[in-house]
Structure formats: structure tokens, C-alpha cells
């Protein structure tokens, strides 16, 4: 059984990672315009091409600003909302959850199109403003919020509803009860929500595509690259992005394992 599950996970990870590794390998391909999968010697020319691309740097900066702002705002707003929803009576909760589920069930493309109609109308109303960073940030917070709430709600539901009350009976202020009892209990959900919001924001193409006006984000920049028949710069960009993410996650992993070891030894000493 153990061997079977090990093989299963191996095949799954092969499926998930093989395409990425092929991209990374071919980012070092010297071939210029032939096929995307003919190897003709090691070269770094596509990386050089990439760094001369001013549009790339601008779109990268835009993407990071939007992702940080949108994930932070949606996590705070979403955590508050989840707790609020949990305190509602059954009928009101059902109404609010339907509103929450709506953009999640609603296809991205419809969300994008509907926000585009709103922003275009608002921009006209406020005197011919153009869509751009502001409309992008509003749009990203909007589609992140339901994911944050839905990753926190199950944790709240599984939490004993008497815990917060018990804390308050024992003399906690509501604020203390929230930070010392409720928040630690739902923290895994909050973190999942934050990570999801950040990932969704960085990854989002569809909603941004409709709400960006002429502003470029990284996915929109990539989209314009994929439309060219052969553009090996994409491979170089993929490799760089993948490397950066891998590095970040390894650093985070080492830090958390170090911290947990430190706290273990501290506990032992105590």
C-alpha cells in the first residue's frame, strides 16, 4: 500500500513538474526561430533579451504592487467578514453566503466583463479617467475575498462556538478573545486564504485582461508573448519565475523548521 501511494504521488508530481522542467531546459536553447523543441546548444541569449525588455520590468512591478495590496486587504476584510458571517442568524447567513459564493461560482470571465462595464461607466462619470492600477486593485480584492472567506469558514465552523464565550466569561475583552482564542484557532484558514489570495492575484489573467485598460501586468505581458508564434523569451521568463518561487519557498521552509527546532529545544530546557 505504501509503495502504491508512493508511485502514485511520484506520477502526479511528474505530471505537474515535467512541463515546467522542459520549459526551463529549453530556456537555455541557442536555437533562434526554428522549432520550440529542437535543441541546438547552450546559450543565455534569451535571458539577455528578457532583461533588455523595459515592458517586462514595468509589468512585473505592477503585478507585485497589486498582489501585495489586494491579498492584504482581502485577508483583513475577509477574516472580519467570516467572523461576522459566523455570528449571523441562519437566514441572514444564508443570504450573505450566497453573495459570497456568487463571484466564486461566477466564471472569471463574467466577473471580468461585469467589472469592466462598471469601471468604464465610473471612469466616464468621473471625467474620462482611464482604467489602470486602481481598477485592477479593486478588481483583484473583489475576486480574492470569497476565497479568503471560504478558506476560513470551515475552521470557524469546526471551532467550538463556546470557546470565545468562555474566554469572555473568564475576563477577556472581545478584542483579547479574538486575538488569543479565535484567531489562533482559525489561523491555518487565514494563512491559506492569504496565500491563495496572493497566488490568485499574481496568477490572474482573465479579470485583469478586462479591467486593465492599457496597463500591463505580468500575465498580460506573457499573453502578448504567447501570441507570437515562437518566442523563447517566455521560457527564460518561466525559468526565472520558477527559480525565484522555489528559492523563496526553500528559505521559508528552512526558517520555519529552524524556528520549530528552536522552540522545541527551549521547551526541553524549560
Amino acid at each position: 500500500m505504501k509503495a502504491v501511494s508512493r508511485i502514485y504521488m511520484f506520477l502526479l508530481f511528474l505530471f505537474l513538474y515535467a512541463p515546467i522542467f522542459v520549459l526551463v531546459i529549453f530556456s537555455f536553447n541557442g536555437s533562434s526561430t526554428m522549432s520550440r523543441s529542437v535543441w541546438s546548444g547552450f546559450s543565455l541569449r534569451w535571458y539577455a533579451c528578457l532583461f533588455q525588455d523595459q515592458m517586462l520590468l514595468v509589468s512585473l512591478r505592477n503585478t507585485l504592487i497589486i498582489a501585495v495590496v489586494a491579498s492584504a486587504v482581502s485577508t483583513v476584510l475577509g477574516t472580519a467578514a467570516a467572523i461576522g458571517i459566523n455570528g449571523l442568524n441562519k437566514w441572514a447567513r444564508r443570504v450573505v453566503m450566497n453573495v459570497t459564493n456568487f463571484p466564486m461560482m461566477n466564471p472569471d470571465i463574467v466577473t471580468g466583463v461585469s467589472l469592466m462595464l462598471l469601471f468604464v461607466a465610473a471612469a466616464k462619470f468621473m471625467g474620462n479617467l482611464a482604467l489602470g492600477m486602481v481598477s485592477l486593485i479593486f478588481a483583484h480584492i473583489t475576486f480574492c475575498l470569497p476565497y479568503v472567506i471560504l478558506s476560513i469558514m470551515p475552521k470557524l465552523r469546526q471551532m467550538d462556538p463556546n470557546l470565545a464565550e468562555a474566554a469572555e466569561d473568564l475576563g477577556c475583552t472581545p478584542r483579547q478573545a479574538f486575538f488569543h482564542v479565535v484567531l489562533p484557532e482559525i489561523m491555518p484558514g487565514v494563512v491559506t486564504g492569504l496565500i491563495m489570495a496572493f497566488t490568485l492575484s499574481i496568477d490572474d489573467f482573465v479579470v485583469s485582461y478586462f479591467t486593465s485598460g492599457t496597463t500591463q501586468t505580468l500575465p498580460i505581458f506573457i499573453y502578448s508573448m504567447t501570441r507570437k508564434r515562437v518566442s523563447p523569451e517566455i521560457n527564460a521568463l518561466s525559468a526565472l519565475l520558477f527559480g525565484t518561487i522555489l528559492l523563496l519557498l526553500i528559505i521559508i521552509n528552512i526558517r520555519t523548521s529552524r524556528e520549530s527546532k528552536r522552540s522545541e529545544t527551549l521547551q526541553k530546557e524549560a
Binding site: N101, V113, F205
Partner: protein
């Protein structure tokens, strides 16, 4: 704890950015370019019913494949030690951090007639297989892009199942199969439901995957909408009408799914 007030800022946000824009889509769908009421747009949508059917079929196949492949993965991960679980979940999420356009582009280079897989096949003496620009390629692209959205919610629910519930079932004489079918699976249904939702919706409404892996002959609903808003056939009113129909279709499907969820929750409640 008086916590109800915490929901108000969120409600205001959702009214401005969800309810008002959705109302705008409805208004556009029922008006012509001059702003007068018309049913013309909705009648025109009828011409595209084959595209709607194709989108729903491919999305459903991708969802089923994701569930069948993703559930065992989530289950296996949830059996590991906590630190191992975190690493494995990290590995599941890692490809998600790469933009889905890049991931889809990667499959383009693999599936092409002169692509990586065909080259490997021919090197081993097999005939090459035409894979790109087929419906299979589109489904593959959907599964590849959205399977983490299936694994994560299922895993999250599986880890929260109280191990003593499973122990109790074992103590009462259930074998592993029975424990899984009668205890673990029913308790994990909320995760399955949200996983199915999170895979089916983007699959049905995608327009990039079909464009990149399906060629011009496998047009989906998303491609139609794109063409009306930012493409050559600029017509936001018809685009809104198509969006409205797509939205209603999805909401009906999801309403049915939620019914299942509530039944499951009711049964769970009866068990306790």
C-alpha cells in the same frame, strides 16, 4: 461575542463590486446599442448552442478526471506526518505560482506535432500522434491547470477529521474499506463539493486554454465573450447576453451541487 458588525464593510464592498456590475451585465444584455429594451441579443445567443454544449462537456470531463486523480492524492498526503504534509502541499501549490499561461504554453511545446512528446515517440520507433488542437488536449490543459484547486480543499477537510471518529469505527469492527466509504468519504464531502466547484467553473469558462491547445476549431463560450468585448466582433450587448446565459447555467449547476452539500451535512448531523 458581538461579531455581526464585522460583516458590514464586506457587504458594502460586495454590493459595489459584485451586485452593481452584475446588474450592468443584465441591463446590457437586454438593451441595444442605443439603450432601448430588446430581446434580440438573447435570441442571437441561441445560434451558439453547440459551443455551449462543447464547453459544458469538456468542463465536466476535466472535473471528473481532476476528482478521480486528485482525491487519492489528497488522501495520501493527509496520511503523512504534519511536516511531510506541509512539504507535499507546498509541492502541489508550487506550479500554481507559475502563471497558467506559461503552464499552458509548456503543454503547447510538449504536444505539438513536432513537439517534445512526438520527438520522443519517434526516437523510440513509434509513429507520431496528433495531440495539439484536439479536445483531449483542451481537457488535459484544464486538468493540469486546475487540479490543485481539487486537491487543496479535499486535503484541508481530510486533515480536520477527528482521528478518534475513525478509531471508533475501527473499534466497532469496520474494516479499512468500510471506514473509508462510510466515515472518511462522507465527512470529506464539503471538500469535494468545493473542489468540484473550483475546477468546473474555470474549466467551462476558459478561453485561453482552448485558444492555445484547442486551435481554432474548439472554440468555447469564453472565446465568444472575449470576441464581443475585446475582439474583432466588438458588441458588448451581445457579449453581455452570452455572459448572462453562461452565468445562469453555472449558477443552476452550482445550485444543484449545493443541494448535495446540504444533504451531506444533514446526514452528518444525524450521525452525530
Amino acid at each position: 461575542m458581538k461579531s455581526k458588525a464585522a460583516v458590514y464593510p464586506y457587504l458594502v464592498w460586495m454590493i459595489i463590486f459584485i451586485i452593481v456590475p452584475t446588474a450592468l451585465v443584465v441591463v446590457f444584455a437586454f438593451t441595444d446599442k442605443g439603450g432601448t429594451f430588446t430581446l434580440q441579443n438573447l435570441q442571437e445567443v441561441g445560434q451558439y448552442s453547440n459551443i455551449f454544449l462543447r464547453s459544458i462537456w469538456l468542463g465536466a470531463v476535466a472535473t471528473v478526471v481532476s476528482l478521480v486523480v486528485g482525491y487519492p492524492a489528497a488522501y495520501i498526503i493527509s496520511r503523512h506526518s504534519v511536516s511531510r504534509q506541509n512539504t507535499l502541499i507546498m509541492l502541489i501549490m508550487l506550479p500554481m505560482w507559475m502563471n497558467f499561461l506559461l503552464r499552458t504554453y509548456a503543454w503547447m511545446t510538449l504536444l505539438e506535432d513536432s513537439g517534445f512528446i512526438n520527438r520522443a515517440l519517434m526516437a523510440c520507433g513509434f509513429p507520431s500522434v496528433h495531440m495539439i488542437n484536439t479536445q483531449g488536449a483542451v481537457v488535459l490543459g484544464m486538468v493540469y491547470n486546475y487540479i490543485p484547486y481539487m486537491i487543496l480543499p479535499v486535503y484541508s477537510v481530510l486533515t480536520k477529521i477527528d482521528p478518534s471518529v475513525i478509531e471508533a469505527a475501527e473499534d466497532l469492527g469496520a474494516d479499512r474499506r468500510t471506514v473509508f466509504l462510510r466515515v472518511t468519504l462522507p465527512l470529506s464531502m464539503p471538500g469535494v463539493i468545493s473542489g468540484v466547484t473550483m475546477v468546473f467553473v474555470p474549466s467551462v469558462s476558459t478561453f485561453i486554454i482552448s485558444k492555445m491547445l484547442g486551435g481554432g476549431s474548439n472554440l468555447l463560450i469564453g472565446d465568444l465573450i472575449d470576441m464581443q468585448f475585446l475582439g474583432s466582433a466588438y458588441n458588448p450587448n451581445l457579449g453581455s447576453a452570452i455572459s448572462l446565459v453562461l452565468m445562469v447555467l453555472i449558477l443552476i449547476c452550482m445550485g444543484i451541487m449545493n443541494q448535495f452539500d446540504e444533504n451531506g451535512a444533514a446526514e452528518g448531523g444525524m450521525m452525530v
